[in-house]
Symmetry: C2
Subunit: 408 residues, 2 copies
């Protein structure tokens, strides 16, 4: 079968798949009773919420959004926050209102959910290698001229162009150039050739390149993090400069995250940072250290907590709570108990948290509540249907997690 | 404040909380388009599903249900399957139709979701220590005479009786007697006194006791598992026999799980087993060994898989897929790649799986699909909105995960 016959088959399959695959929409189907109950939660003390409850302190969240935008702007960089962290249309709206260039999503179903909720400036950072997902991505591009998608392979670029043609549009794409070995095309001549191909294909419009360094974000110690992050991107910078020299579009050179937001401006040509966790902070990011050499990464305020209830206090040096792996994940460092530095929180049971301690600041009765800092914010947020927005310990707003579970 | 004044305050709080706390209902709000799309998925090859996709082989699932019920019946035991594993009203219905005594749930929100979907024979195995959750549990008891709830503390028993009285009913309860140190009242005189108290309280009806041994389920090697499981329950058996001697209700003596289903009949007085994972099997249970001394626990067929797509094959000895921690959790043993024993699957990235191998049975292109056995079924099922029921590799049914995310 020739290449172009194979592509025709591909387009036919794209059309077919449209009828086949169940694509659940945004979870917006609240009943009148549920909406009434949401209304009635407003103003309640957070300590009255049924647990496990995912809470975000709004003062801290808003301050983090403002701080990040101001610091990136001061260094001549844009913010393109990654929605894989918050999966919330409400938070995305706040980020855009603060000046973000757009929002990133990891999966096409995540982009669909956010776009259905009104977020249309989206850059999808993961490639779509199947006919069905390409069709879904093109449907998003048809809805929004501000939808950009990633490509990292010649065949995939041709498939995208064919699908864009079939959909009667020109699709905006960025090439994903690998940092490390996880995703993207290796930073070399192949990447440059891919960019050239994309710029030639009739139904694609090249916008630039992505280079996300997932591995550098959590390196402990600022100096080591900076040195590694910059070294990791050297090949990518050479690709970027080659594209520029060839006169190819280089409007976007995007990557980085919360761990390297204050490093990326030293990467020549870099345009914007895909920050996510800065909104919430978590045990992982708190541990990486700040630019002044301090052990705690305190550039942003800790805003996200899970509230849990003590179920058992009968065994010495132990407490059992109602928040286990289904509420907190198994990430490390383990959850932190606010105000109890001597407590070790093990979320290894699906339904229960088990705390062990040799010393506690107070004694706990069954029914008492605890506030926990989560190990790693992204997968924890993904476990909840809603997030309670808290101001001065009272519920101000209840946000649905718009793209919860949208991993497709 | 006297005890009874404190209880009056408690009941008042129960009433108040009813108006305050947002209780999202079962995720049943499918739009006409979504329902049409579900219909249209029927009959499709599972390999056409967008990934990550949670799939259950129906032949294997049905055979597991029949096998478990038959084996427990042959030993004079009942099945009281735990819905924390499947969170699915459809699967619960199959278990009840096969002869299960009832269904267990871990949290009150889980019980609410299943009861709203028509499952009314429910035993809630975790205690409810807050006013709001007690109110929710009593509302379930008001809806179904077959709702049973756990209690493990004198104060909580009095609160339950008061709340039952306020709701105008008599609530069925079981005392939860600890095995280990995670949950429940220690197996001793206190447990007997609690049972006596429950039997005296005006609005409670004692039904018996729970004794779930979470720690024994995954012990490797049948002989060691059997010895530990029986030793761990010795104190609980003494409590059970004391209740019997005192003429207290002992209709229920429930616990155990998939790892000890063929051991529990040797516990004197034991009535039923809270099996869950036998439906699906997973890497954790496959590794514990069978009663014949074999290293693989093969009493039940492996029915649950996650389908993933290869996103990157550019780096030697590595593949990247679209199924990471948000699709598979971080549990160990790591996910198994069906047909590729030499592949090590690391789901440590939120969005990506990274496979490393020195030898593979075939070479993989970008877009190829892989079938994965999940590390631990319960928390993986909880990540998905729906499960595809597969027969002979085609989608026969799409089941919503009725109680997904119901950790409250």
């Amino acid at each position: 079968m020739s290449d172009s016959a194979s592509r025709r088959t591909f387009i036919a399959a794209t059309g077919m798949a449209a009828a086949h695959v169940w694509v659940p929409g945004t979870a917006r189907g609240y009943s009148p009773a549920e909406m009434r109950a949401m209304e009635e939660t407003i103003g309640v003390s957070k300590w009255e919420l049924d647990t496990p409850a995912l809470c975000v302190d709004l003062d801290a969240l808003e301050s983090n959004i403002t701080t990040m935008q101001a610091r990136l702007t001061a260094k001549g960089l844009g913010a393109r926050p990654h929605a894989k962290t918050h999966k919330s249309a409400d938070i995305a709206r706040k980020q855009l209102a603060a000046g973000a260039l757009g929002i990133c999503t990891s999966k096409v179903s995540e982009a669909e959910a956010l776009m259905a909720a009104g977020i249309d400036r989206i850059c999808m950072t993961t490639t779509n290698p199947s006919a069905s997902k390409i069709r879904r991505a093109m449907a998003l591009r048809a809805k929004s001229a501000q939808f950009i998608q990633a490509v990292d392979e010649e065949k995939n670029a041709r498939d995208l162009s064919d699908a864009a043609k079939a959909a009667g549009l020109t699709a905006d794409v960025v090439i994903d150039v690998a940092v490390g070995t996880r995703s993207g095309i290796p930073a070399g001549d192949g990447a440059i050739a891919l960019a050239e191909l994309v710029s030639r294909l009739p139904n694609l419009r090249l916008r630039g390149m992505l280079s996300y360094d997932g591995g550098a974000q959590h390196l402990t110690g600022f100096a080591a993090r900076r040195a590694t992050a910059l070294a990791n991107l050297e090949g990518n910078v050479r690709v970027f400069e080659a594209l520029k020299k060839k006169g190819l579009p280089t409007e976007i050179f995007s990557g980085g995250g919360t761990g390297t937001y204050n490093i990326q401006h030293d990467v020549p040509g870099f345009t914007d940072v895909q920050v996510g966790s800065y909104l919430f902070m978590d045990m992982q990011y708190l541990a990486i250290g700040n630019a002044a050499g301090g052990p705690v990464y305190d550039d942003f305020a800790r805003s996200l907590t899970v509230l849990a209830t003590v179920l058992n206090n009968r065994f010495p040096g132990r407490l059992t709570t109602d928040a286990g792996a289904k509420a907190l994940t198994l990430n490390v460092p383990r959850p932190g108990v606010v105000g109890e530095p001597g407590m070790d929180y093990n979320a290894g049971s699906d339904e229960f948290g088990v705390i062990t301690f040799s010393e506690a600041r107070k004694s706990y009765a069954i029914g008492d509540k605890l506030e926990l800092v989560v190990p790693h914010c992204d997968p924890v947020v993904n476990l909840y249907d809603q997030m309670y927005g808290i101001r001065k310990d009272r519920v101000e707003v209840v946000w649905p997690i718009t793209a919860r579970g949208k991993s497709q």
